[in-house]
């Protein structure tokens, strides 16, 4: 299940991660959400480089892993990773946010190859992920994993809590959540959020969100019979 950049169609070789910064600067004309974009870079890279079983060639395969970027704010890192992995041409990045560009400041699944959902309004990805996981199970597709990336402040939205409680209680173990914790919530803490996942019956891992090996270990920790949440702690947004 581990794909290296060198074997990924359209990949950019072993130096893949190092090139992301360059790809992101191609979008730098638009400064919106830049700090948030950078908070997700490492987690996204490790997921697409080593964890998710999806490539441009399998982007429509029924048994692919699904990655749902719920925190649609700051999608530059996401676009850079998708481009680096060959889901769409790198030169699309130059038009970021333009009228003729498929790449907006919030992603649209109907425009971006490889994007599983359109996001931007916070709190939609996790319920959609629950439904996707249930749908795959109903189709007897037991292999694919469903991953949802949220921000710590995004967990303010009550829709997440509906999904967290339901997924935990029903043991929806194909569902995975990555919480990018840059301490951006005005109220509450990552501690209270992690406790909440745990109380709802989730497996919870907490890792350094800049440490690729720690991220990989957190992402791949076994969690039989329970959904899995990985808190990726990064530097506080206000720092």
């Amino acid at each position: 299940m581990t794909a290296t950049a060198s074997t990924t169609p359209g990949g950019i070789g072993q130096s893949g991660f190092a090139e992301l910064a360059g790809l992101m600067t191609r979008m730098a004309g638009a400064e919106k959400h830049v700090p948030a974009a950078h908070s997700t870079t490492d987690a996204l890279w490790v997921l697409y480089d080593r964890v998710l079983r999806v490539t441009p060639a399998t982007a429509d395969a029924p048994d692919r892993d699904r990655f749902l970027l719920s925190k649609g704010h700051g999608p530059m890192a996401y676009y850079a990773v998708l481009a680096a992995k060959g889901f769409f041409p790198r030169d699309w990045l130059d038009g970021f946010g333009g009228f003729d560009s498929p790449l907006g400041h919030h992603p649209d699944r109907t425009l971006v190859p490889g994007a599983e959902i359109a996001s931007g309004s916070l709190g939609h990805g996790l319920p959609l992920g629950v439904g996707t996981a249930l749908g795959l199970r109903a189709r007897d597709l037991t292999e694919p994993a469903v991953w949802v990336l949220v921000g710590d402040a995004e967990l303010d939205e009550g829709s997440n809590h509906e999904a967290i409680d339901f997924a935990g209680a029903s043991g929806l173990d194909s569902l995975h959540v990555v919480v990018i914790d840059n301490a951006s919530a005005s109220w509450g803490t990552a501690r209270s959020q992690a406790d909440r996942f745990a109380a709802a019956g989730w497996s919870v891992a907490e890792v350094d969100g800049r440490d690729h090996e720690a991220l990989y270990a957190g992402f791949t920790r076994p969690h039989p019979g329970r959904p899995h949440a990985v808190f990726a702690h990064v530097e506080p947004k206000s720092a």
């Binding site: 996707t132 109903a138 509906e162």
Partner: protein
């Protein structure tokens, strides 16, 4: 089969029959009863189907859930999750059937309806119950007269408003067979007999003279409308599908006229479809009267018949309003 949910609080099902004054003789089986039994069969027939519930009607699906444990999903009293889960099922290639009361299916999680279905560009079938005035003893929290108007702010939704359990079954089957986004609005109110609905067409039940009002009755208000028009010169059309609105059918009904008077009788917010009439009759001078549930809260309990009377949606009220509208023809003051 009972569809009472057995849950507590405000999610208790409305009574399937009213105890005191009787609305126009409903059949013993409600549309919601039929929805539960037909959907159970659809689950058996079509492995793409899945039902998502938020407690409401869940007791009715107990047997289906035993047969299809992965395709009958009750998320509890979580309506944002209800709609999001339905859309997620669609993203995974399923045909979701999502059900609860209209107020909790369309109004409460409206952004999920807008974004999780429309913006994701996936299809699904939303099936509501209890509509506008179906459980008056439950009060305004369980009334959703604005559901169709809300869906009118979105793109690509088909809206069925069946007037009889048989019509509900036909339209539900039509909806589940398709790929698009469909809202099926079930009511406790029913006409005495079903009509041959389907295909989105207006049915022309009566032809009036060239100056007679053209009255469009929607779903369960057909019987009251037909009774109201007894002995009056009027054309009577019936709609069990209101979106897309059968504009061509309306134009056919007024073909050859120099002007037209159109009356809409809708079991939800008054005037919801007046825009459709305006679009259909762009080329024809016309007047429109939109009858339905008013915006003002009634803040009364009682029976469905009480509320229909208060809203002017019983036969006497409809006759009075149609007659008055017809008498205004040509007046300028």
């Amino acid at each position: 089969m009972t569809t009472r949910t057995g849950t507590t609080r405000s999610t208790t099902a409305p009574p399937t029959t009213t105890a005191t004054s009787t609305p126009p003789a409903p059949p013993a089986e409600t549309m919601r009863d039929r929805f539960v039994s037909v959907t159970g069969g659809l689950l058996d027939e079509d492995p793409r189907t899945a039902v998502v519930l938020a407690e409401i009607s869940a007791a009715g699906f107990t047997g289906a859930a035993r047969r299809h444990p992965h395709r009958v999903i009750n998320v509890g009293i979580r309506e944002q999750l209800l709609v999001g889960t339905g859309a997620g099922l669609a993203l995974a290639g399923m045909r979701p059937i999502v059900h609860t009361f209209a107020s909790f299916l369309v109004e409460r999680p409206f952004e999920q309806v807008k974004l999780d279905f429309q913006h994701q560009d996936v299809g699904g079938v939303l099936v509501s119950a209890a509509g506008s005035y179906d459980w008056p003893q439950g009060g305004f929290t369980h009334m959703s007269p604005g559901d169709v108007a809300l869906l009118d702010t979105l793109d690509g939704w088909t809206v069925h408003v069946p007037g009889h359990p048989d019509e509900a079954e036909a339209l539900l089957r039509e909806a589940v067979r398709g790929e698009d986004r469909v809202y099926v609005r079930l009511s406790e109110q029913s006409n005495a007999a079903p009509r041959a609905v389907g295909g989105g067409r207006l049915l022309r039940l009566r032809d009036g003279g060239p100056d007679a009002p053209v009255v469009i009755a929607v779903g369960p208000l057909l019987d009251a409308t037909a009774e109201a028009l007894a002995g009056l010169d009027a054309t009577l059309l019936y709609a069990a599908t209101v979106r897309p609105f059968d504009r061509a059918g309306l134009r056919e009904a007024v073909a050859g006229r120099a002007t037209a008077d159109v009356v809409l009788v809708e079991p939800y917010l008054a005037g919801t479809s007046t825009r459709e009439v305006a679009e259909a009759l762009r080329a024809l001078p016309h007047r429109t009267l939109g009858l339905g549930v008013p915006r003002a809260e009634l803040r009364r309990y009682g029976t469905m018949a009480d509320h229909l009377g208060a809203h002017g949606l019983d036969a006497a009220g409809l006759r009075r309003q149609v007659t008055e509208f017809a008498s205004l023809r040509g007046q300028t003051g």
